[in-house]
Symmetry: C2
Subunit: 93 residues, 2 copies
Amino acid sequence: MDTSDLSGWTRGSRPDHLFRRFVFDSYAQTRRFLDDMQAVCDACGVTPQNVNFGTTYVNVTISAEGDSLSPADWEAARRIDALVRPASEATQP
Amino acid sequence: MDTSDLSGWTRGSRPDHLFRRFVFDSYAQTRRFLDDMQAVCDACGVTPQNVNFGTTYVNVTISAEGDSLSPADWEAARRIDALVRPASEATQP
């Protein structure tokens, strides 16, 4: 599975998971992203286990339900990335 | 200001804030609560600074923008409570 285009995400373990922080210019943008992300997760059949957001940021963690991330988890991460790609990409702190 | 009816919330400082954990039976309930909570915050003119959610829980922090919580912050907490009052109330762990 080609995961090279998911460079913005950090991979972790116990459980296997992907993490990324998205930063926005306004609360309205944050809300729109949250709604769009929910739609992506619904479409991929992935339930975000741990999402943390404030006025202008969203921390997304996609955790494996089994031993390792599923193709659906990777696809959800890819589609979530696509939600922000045209906008200024958030860089990890 | 009578805050006795906000017993489910934990008060903290630096900054002055209220915290409460809400637990749900399903992701659908969690999503409905998130949407309803956003509507309450909009109506009160309060922007949640730090919300953390997973499949069946939402941790809500309402932080003071100034030195102390405003009447709108307290009202938002009260209305958020009302969203879950008929359901089984989440108890702090």
